[in-house]
């Protein structure tokens, strides 16, 4: 029988078999006897259990945080972002419908079928966007209530527009009143309900996209990694081996997890930033431009109905758009590519054309030539405004696609992270246990 090795001594070579002197071991009993482990294998076993426990705990904590991050990001991409876009589409569609309805009204009963078609198409888009919001808004009760309110008001709005169209054949005053009621319904009730949904979506967007708490997950993983490095160094020293392969592999796995989670998070945040700075800000500016333009057009239409020149009311609106620090300048500065710059420049060029026609229209009213003013409104001003509006719409469509695309990129950047954290943690724990088991086995 070979001589006994001292229990406290490390094996001198890799081939040495440790033999535990069971007779000399202290008697251990009771619930916490493992805490009083005295032998090297017991201490190693205890350390292994603690290390595995810590790694599992780190993994669980990271997985929980990653799960929340992925869920929030997915919700931004599939719900919150779409709600934000769809609510803007609803506002724009109602404003366009209102403008087209006024133009139809101006032309008399069914006198301008192109504008009638534009009105119907705008209402179709508004309805479709409402359905989109209802589909993706989730279980937000307040948003659903607002949607119900919009749906009811949309029916009333369309009814008033239709009634105005029919009334205009016989009773122009009544028709004017109904058109005004419809516009007021749009401006007050519908717009505020849409804004309510948009505001709530914006709040969710901010909450879901800002995730500084995720650093906790990365730090936890880094702590796990540091622990494994320390353990590896200690085992190397204790067993005089440079490498404990399983624990080294476990450290590599954790290192990969740290890198991948940091990289995924950074990519997600970068994609969100791009979505906001390159697309959403541009969307908001374009939407403001559109709203100001619709207001300008609506005032122009009213001026014809009232037979009054309102140039003084229109100029401030034009300044909001075209002044050196106006919305057009902002749109150009928000443009993030030469293509977007080109689109913004086209918007400005088409607005300038519309303003020329609007000036002609107001000029006709100034000299009490209502017939000429109406002809301009129905003809060249109408065409110029449609050109402007569709160019804004085209830019908005591009920006909306860009926005949703970048949200999807954010979501994609985290696609494998949840699974990686789960499997990586388990693998690291198993490898750690294996690494300790090897050394314990050497003792036994």
């Amino acid at each position: 029988m070979p001589g006994k090795a001292k229990r406290s001594e490390a094996p001198t070579t890799g081939n040495t078999v440790s033999v535990v002197d069971k007779a000399n071991e202290p008697v251990q009993s009771g619930r916490f006897s493992w805490l009083r482990a005295g032998t090297t294998p017991d201490r190693l076993q205890l350390t292994a259990i603690a290390a595995v426990f810590i790694i599992v705990a780190v993994g669980v904590a990271s997985w929980v945080l990653t799960d929340r991050l992925v869920n929030d990001t997915t919700e931004v991409a599939t719900s919150t972002g779409e709600v934000l876009i769809a609510t803007q589409q609803i506002s724009a569609s109602f404003a366009e419908a209102d403008t087209a309805a006024a133009a139809v009204h101006l032309a008399g009963a069914d006198g301008n079928r192109e504008q009638r078609r534009l009105y119907e198409q705008a209402m179709d888009r508004a309805t479709s966007s409402l359905e989109d919001v209802a589909r993706v808004v989730g279980d937000d009760e307040i948003s659903h209530q607002a949607l119900q309110s919009i749906a009811g008001n949309t029916t009333d709005y369309a009814g008033l527009i239709d009634a105005a169209r029919l009334a205009s054949i016989q009773d122009l005053a009544a028709a004017n009143s109904q058109l005004s009621q419809a516009s007021a319904l749009n401006r007050n009730e519908i717009t505020s309900a849409v804004q309510q949904i948009a505001d709530r979506a914006r709040d969710r967007f901010d909450t879901q996209t800002q995730a500084p708490w995720y650093f906790v997950a990365i730090i936890a993983l880094a702590i796990g990694l540091a622990l494994l490095i320390v353990l590896h160094l200690r085992l190397s020293r204790q067993f005089r081996r440079v490498l404990n392969l399983p624990i080294a592999l476990a450290a590599v796995v954790l290192l990969v997890m740290v890198i991948m989670s940091a990289r995924g998070f950074a990519n997600q945040q970068a994609a969100f930033n791009d979505a906001e700075e390159q697309a959403f800000d541009a969307i908001q500016v374009s939407e403001q431009i559109q709203q100001i333009a619709y207001r300008h057009r609506a005032l122009g239409t009213s001026s014809i109905l009232n037979g009054q020149n309102i140039s003084a009311d229109l100029t401030p609106l034009e300044d909001v758009l075209a002044a050196s620090n106006g919305l057009f300048g902002q749109a150009l500065s928000e443009a993030s590519s030469t293509r977007e710059v080109a689109a913004a420049e086209e918007i400005v060029a088409r607005w300038d054309r519309y303003v020329i026609e609007s000036d002609k229209l107001q000029g006709a009213l100034r000299v009490d030539n209502a017939e000429l003013a109406e002809r301009i409104a129905q003809g060249s001003a109408n065409a110029a405004f449609n050109g402007f509006n569709t160019s804004v719409e085209a830019a908005l469509l591009d920006n909306r696609e860009q926005f949703l695309g970048q949200l999807q990129t954010a979501s994609d950047s985290l696609r494998w992270l949840r699974g990686l954290i789960l499997l990586g943690s388990l693998l690291a724990a198993l490898l750690t246990w294996w690494g300790f088991a090897e050394r314990i086995g050497e003792y036994r």
Binding site: R117, S391, L397
Partner: protein
């Protein structure tokens, strides 16, 4: 001057459907990358450009241009959506299909500063608001041309094509969207936003009149010959060909029916596989320069979709001034409000089915 024969085609709309089907196999979604290799390959309708302008643009862009006047809406030639063509010019309804199916690229507008010169009337199509995927080439009106000596009266309405006194002396254009669209107007419907029921009603009306011998023939650009020869007294007609016909026979009249007329346009698109999308964009930009576009209008005599062409034409001498004052090329606002661009049925399958049944009315 070489006159256009824009529509010397119709091999059968099934071929068009096959083309769309093939295209659907090879295409991808609109891409943001802008290819720019090799010469520029342009596929257009026959006699639809002043060839001197091709040479001028070639020099201006310092780009080799291969220009082929072989297109029609049933083009089933070589690989359209592969890499063979950079610009093709389908009619609006077919372009709408291409856009909806993702067969064509988003226009790289950064190379098309003249995109702002598109007439707004072409920007409100529901299938491509703001013209992000297409740029109209030329546009025309489908109305009624007639010889007053043969009709014995003025024609003012689509209903006149169905009048008993003209039985057997009317030619109809064999393009479904124009014929059905025009009759929809007579029925009080809007072809800019057609429903299946409305289109079917119009088709039935055509079918019944055809069975009753109301129509002498189904025609395309040969309607002008039929009118000139006196084979028919009246015909559905294209404005551009009628302008040409009137130069030879001033007695012929073209009328925008009181119910309205169908406006169509052929439009430039960039297939997904184009290897020189940048060149395609520069070509489009060149032809949206009002001065160049005016010279092409002088040749093709259709409605230009380019703002500013009327003013440019006035600077091209007496012939140009005459065209600038021609209401068929530059209709006033009042008239333009009576133009309707086919909006497409909600169901493309239903539209294809109607197209097929309509095609069966035409002689082999």
């Amino acid at each position: 001057m070489n006159r256009l024969t824009r529509r010397s085609f119709l091999a059968g709309s099934a071929a068009s459907a096959a083309l769309v089907g093939l295209a659907g196999c090879g295409g991808t979604a609109a891409t943001e990358t802008v290819s720019q290799s090799g010469s520029l390959r342009v596929l257009n309708w026959p006699d639809y450009i002043d060839s001197a302008l091709v040479a001028q643009v070639e020099q201006q862009l310092a780009l080799g241009i291969s220009y082929e006047p072989l297109w029609d809406d049933n083009y089933v030639g070589q690989d359209l959506f592969g890499s063979q063509w950079d610009v093709v010019m389908p009619t609006n309804w077919l372009a709408a299909q291409y856009v909806q199916e993702g067969q064509v690229q988003r226009l790289p507008v950064e190379f098309i500063p003249n995109h702002k010169n598109i007439d707004p009337v072409f920007l409100t199509n529901n299938w491509d608001r703001g013209a992000r995927f297409h740029m109209p080439w030329q546009s025309g009106i489908t109305g009624i041309a007639y010889d007053p000596d043969k009709t014995g009266r003025e024609l003012t309405s689509v209903a006149d094509l169905f009048a008993p006194d003209l039985k057997g002396r009317v030619a109809m254009i064999g393009e479904m969207r124009e014929a059905v669209g025009l009759v929809m107007l007579a029925n009080g419907d809007d072809p800019g936003r057609p429903t299946i029921d409305q289109a079917e009603n119009a088709y039935e009306r055509i079918l019944e009149a055809d069975a009753a011998g109301q129509f002498h023939s189904w025609v395309f650009d040969d309607f002008a010959t039929s009118l000139a020869n006196g084979d028919v007294a009246a015909s559905m007609a294209w404005s551009g060909n009628t302008v040409t016909l009137q130069e030879q026979n001033p007695n012929i009249k073209f009328v925008i029916p009181e119910e309205g007329a169908i406006q169509w346009f052929d439009t430039m698109v960039i297939p997904n596989g184009a290897s020189n999308a940048k060149g395609a964009a520069e070509w489009m930009n060149a032809f949206y320069d009002p001065a160049l576009a005016a010279r092409n209008t002088e040749f093709v005599q259709y409605i230009s979709p380019v703002l500013g062409v009327q003013d440019e034409l006035r600077q091209l001498g007496a012939a140009g001034r005459s065209l600038a004052d021609n209401p068929l090329l530059f209709p006033d606002d009042e008239t333009r409000r009576r133009f309707f661009i086919w909006g497409g049925l909600d169901s493309s399958a239903a539209e294809q089915d109607l197209d097929d049944r309509f095609a069966s009315l035409l002689p082999e």
